[in-house]
Amino acid sequence: MFICVADSITMAMDKLQEEERAIIIKLSGPTPLNQYLLIHGITVGTVFRMNYSPNYSGLISITVGGKMISLRRHDYQTIDWTRI
């Protein structure tokens, strides 16, 4: 599969706009967290879509594999991604 990479900077997921899609390029968290994310289908190569990142809750909601999953800030900050 050929992926068109628009930018490949490392920044927190909440910088993505709503409905923007991105691909995970690196997981830099501790192994238990990576394992936990893997179980939710979040790993290197996973494509996700940003749903919402409201400031009041410190959570973001993304769509992965047809599910809407919310992650806490200190967890999603360990995920490196790039827009597609």
Partner: protein, 656 residues
């Protein structure tokens, strides 16, 4: 032949709805031994169906999932059939867990739920082809309306389960001198003993295989995104301003329902049992039997049944919120604030419900997935100011601040608000301590799935309400009833003879300085509880209390509001009217010191005692039921008692 069948699946797969469909009201809800994880089993014909806790993967080891995994491994060992329930809208994701369980090689059936939503989104499954690919029966159902259930019933009744094809099991083949051995089950038992790369490789292989199965058996005829409607609703319900208003409005409705609406049926139950006591008293002529029935058994049963409206209403609201998908949004909205105290957004409803009553709140803590957080809420929520504290607070505040001014803000109002705030602060502090400083096992990692919005399934909602209410009446009710009878025995019998008490009463009345004390008050003084009050007097004296207050402290263990009734009896007020009690307490003089008994120092001390002390046998009983052990109920009772004593002591010593 009777057999056990396990029901397993990921969260939000509709597993519990299917369980309710199959078993109806023929269920048993309890706890797995020593933990707060709920166990549910029920009968389907002569088969026993066990609803296992939802799990994400056999590789995850959260406490709840450990139990599910342990049960699955037990089932595998005994070749017990498993029904795997999957969400048809997320089939590729759910089949990854199916593949993990399939590799254990136990008989299974794959149930694809939400058939109706799949049809609406033009998703079709080639059922027979999928059966060939996975190797076990595949059934399409809609657990909410029962569509497709007949086929599943047939599979259960005729025992048509089949061992599915292994998917990644060969990765664990090991060759030794005796031949090929497979170590998959032992690796699953040990959980994560492999390195991250291997785990990821296995996951990716599963994902690849499952994707290939889904691609060849499931047709997506439309490009429509089934999340579109949900996202539109979320634009409103998770909006920074509008969403918060709706959240507050929903919380207000829940609070109002549990606090106010429930009060009408509760008053009816109270009045009904009061009337029953009166009738029993007038019809039963044998003194002790009449007393046992009117003051022991009837109030004991009433003390259990009175909680039903609050429990039923709270669980009705919780079920509706859960089934519609809004409960997860409430968690989403309130998570940021509660995280500071080690909790998540799921704690908000149980915590707020405990302003009405800790009993439904503690039962409501079952919506919290994390066992550590659930334990924190169970242990901390009785510190919130429940409605039973209000009669005690209003009387003591009125004793302290006699004449409310006509101002909008009065000292009485400020005092009451302060007590509520102390309750909230204490609750959050205890929750923080339990989540951050104790060794109770919890989920260190956290995600929240936002399910699609759906109309609630009313049958399922009412089944949940019925089962929760029944489990309270049957399990906690027994303990509450027994303690009620024990308190009645202690308050009704005396180590002294009736003649002795009568002589003492006559002798007291003949004294010139005697107060106008009723025989009933005298009986209470010479009862076992009276002696207990005197026995604990040296311990409670540093708090500013005498033995009379000691008696009220002991009797109000039945329920906090009993404090008022006991004071009314012991001070021979002859009425439970608030104004009469306040006047009497203000004029009460300590016989030893000659000074008023209810000074500011004593009143503040008592108020703080009631803020922190458990003083509610029903809460003790429900904590015992929900945690599955007396250990936590006793720890909670003791730590709240210590907190109460320390705060009351400090307050009295500073203010006296």
């Amino acid at each position: 032949m009777s057999q056990t069948i396990g029901l397993i699946g990921k969260p939000n797969s509709g597993k519990s709805t299917l369980f309710n469909r199959l078993t109806g009201l023929n269920q048993k809800i309890g706890n797995y031994a020593g933990v707060t994880v709920e166990s549910k089993s029920g009968n389907f014909g002569d088969q026993k169906i066990v609803d296992l806790p939802g799990l994400l993967s056999l590789r995850i080891t959260s406490p709840e999932e450990k139990i599910a995994k342990k049960k699955i491994l037990e089932f595998t060992e005994g070749k017990t059939p498993l029904i795997f329930v999957s969400n048809g809208m997320q089939l590729a994701d759910h089949l990854i867990l199916f593949s993990e369980i399939a590799d254990l090689q136990t008989p299974m059936a794959l149930v694809i739920n939400f058939k109706d939503e799949m049809a609406k989104n033009q998703i079709s499954v080639q059922q027979r082809e999928l059966e060939n690919r996975v190797g076990c029966p595949v059934l399409m159902i809609n657990s909410r309306n029962g569509d497709g259930l007949d086929e599943l019933r047939l599979v259960i009744e005729k025992n048509r389960f089949k061992v599915p094809h292994a998917i990644c099991r060969s990765l664990y083949d090991e060759i030794d001198d005796e031949g090929i051995k497979n170590s998959y089950i032992s690796k699953v038992e040990k959980s994560i003993d492999k390195n991250w790369d291997e785990n990821q490789a296995e996951y990716l292989k599963r994902q690849k295989t499952v994707s290939s199965i889904v691609r060849s058996t499931v047709n997506y005829l439309s490009n429509s995104n089934y999340l579109t409607k949900t996202k539109k609703w979320d634009k409103v319900l998770l909006h920074p301003i509008l969403g918060l208003f709706i959240f507050l409005a929903v919380m207000l409705v829940i609070f109002q329902a549990v606090f106010t609406f429930a009060s009408y049926p509760m008053d009816l139950i109270d009045a009904g049992f009061g009337k029953a006591s009166e009738l029993a008293e007038s019809y039963i002529s044998i003194g002790w039997l009449s007393d046992l029935i009117t003051n022991g058994i009837i109030p004991g049963i009433g003390g259990v049944l009175i909680f039903i409206p609050q429990i039923a209403i709270l669980f009705f609201m919780l079920s509706v919120l859960e089934h519609t998908g809004y409960l997860s949004r409430i968690s989403f909205i309130s998570d940021g604030f509660l995280r500071k105290f080690g909790l998540s957004g799921k704690s908000i409803i149980p915590l707020m419900s405990s302003w009405a009553c800790a009993i439904p709140a503690i039962m409501g803590a079952r919506v919290i997935d994390d066992p550590k957080e659930r334990m924190a809420v169970i242990m901390a929520s009785p510190l919130m100011t429940c409605s039973a504290r209000l009669p005690v607070y209003t009387i003591l505040i009125a004793v302290m601040f006699p004449n409310p001014s006509g101002d909008f803000i009065t000292m009485q109002g400020i005092a009451l608000l302060s007590l509520y705030l102390i309750g909230v602060i204490a609750t959050l502090a205890v929750a923080w301590y339990i989540t951050k400083r104790t060794a109770i096992e919890g989920n260190e990692l956290w995600t929240l799935e936002l399910p699609v919005y759906r109309m609630p399934n009313w049958k399922n909602v009412f089944t949940t309400v019925y089962m929760k209410t029944k489990s309270f009446v049957v399990e906690a009710g027994k303990i509450i009833f027994l303690i009620s009878i024990l308190l009645w025995v202690l308050a009704s019998f005396s180590p002294k003879s009736d003649d002795f008490i009568a002589e003492q009463y006559v002798a007291y009345q003949s004294q010139e300085s005697s107060l106008d004390i009723t025989k009933e008050s005298f009986d209470l003084e010479y009862s076992y509880i009276g002696y207990m009050g005197k026995f604990i007097e040296p311990v409670i004296q540093p708090l500013g209390y005498d033995w009379k207050i000691g008696i009220a402290l002991i009797t109000s263990f039945a329920a906090r509001e009993v404090f008022v009734g006991t004071l009314s009896t012991i001070y021979s007020i002859g009425s439970e009217e608030e104004s009469s009690i306040i006047e009497r307490l203000r004029s009460e003089v300590n016989r030893q010191t000659g000074r008023p008994t209810f000074t500011i120092a004593v009143s503040v001390s008592l108020l703080l005692f009631y803020v922190f002390a458990m003083q509610c046998m029903s809460t003790v009983a429900i904590v015992r039921k929900e945690t599955g052990t007396w250990k936590y109920a006793l720890i909670q009772f003791l730590f709240m008692l210590v907190l109460a004593y320390v705060f009351a002591f400090v307050a009295y010593q500073l203010l006296k």
